[in-house]
């Protein structure tokens, strides 16, 4: 119950950060929070059934999210460098 509410709130908050922020880095932070919320959704479902598969998916997701974030940061830095 607690965690389901937190997961939903993080999803909304993260989406807001992604859409409403004008600074690219803050957008990226918002997107990562949205990801954390989605992962928690998986966690809530997994905790009810004792299901290992969603947990395995979350571990995969965390690694992929990190890889995607590094790419996004590199793109932003390149963009900033071409502006100067």
């Amino acid at each position: 119950m607690t965690w389901a509410l937190l997961a939903a709130a993080l999803c909304g908050l993260g989406l807001y950060g992604t859409l409403a922020a004008a600074v690219p880095l803050r957008r990226l932070l918002g997107f990562n929070l949205l990801g954390a919320g989605v992962f928690l959704c998986f966690g809530v479902v997994a905790a009810r059934a004792g299901d290992p598969v969603p947990r395995a998916l979350v571990i995969t997701g965390l690694v992929v999210a990190f890889a995607a974030t590094t790419l996004a940061v590199a793109l932003l830095r390149r963009l900033a460098a071409t502006r100067d």
Partner: protein, 302 residues
Amino acid sequence: MILDALLALAILALAAWTVWTRDAFAAGIGFVATGLLLALAWVRLGSVDVALTEAAIGAGIGGVLLVNAATHLGTTAEEAPPSPRQNRLIALLCAGFAVAVGTALLTLPDPAPNLVHEAAAALPATGLGNPVTAVLMVWRGLDTLLEAIVVLLAVLGLWALAPEGATRPAPPPREEGPLPLLARVLPPIGVVIALHIVWAGADGPGGKFQGGAILAAMWVLAWMAGLVRAPEVMDRRLAWALVAGPLVFLGVGVAGLVLAGEFLALPAGWAKPVILLIEAPLTLSIAAGLALLLLGPPERAP
């Protein structure tokens, strides 16, 4: 129960502040703190292995990446912020989204839909005696392989963003005093802990990613202190370290196709040594990939 409520409230408050604050560095630190608390939340959700991943990759190297990015990028707005009216609309939309997600989670059928039976039912078809090994190799195996390949692809993507003539990431600013000392003392301990985590992961999913992240962090620490140089992009040993894991994994998968008639299937009795054979190079590849991702793209030599 009080613990859960406290944790959830703190995570929500911190996340909200991270979204709203104007200072990019502060937001980065806020994100790290949120990640730390999220790791505790995963413990309370009964999943220590996800908590380990969140601590090592989400808050650990991911947090360091974002804080670094904050100091490089700052808070220059790329475009006009949404008007108050648009802002209200976005907020309304996001609130609706949150309510929808919450309703969906709270009205799940009991028991929640799950794959426990499917996983168990699929086991006999794999031709493996040990069900744990079967889950690891068949249900998680393809996952793990693709995960390692995603890290590899991200490294290639990062390199593609490098300017012409760039051969290696720029060296860090020179440091004296406590940092080189830390960079000498910590990595040996870190390597032992990383190997312990990989080894312990044999009984649960995904030990090599958390262990690999620690190895990557230790190497980046030595690099920060100026004790090691970043490798040249064209370095052959680096290339082999990056692809060794996926290659061995693919090789074993194809061997399973030939010998046992199914991709990644293992002949009974050989599972344990073969898994060790896969895990060692995979840990190396993941560690190398994560470290390179943390360093960022190569920059033009001065």
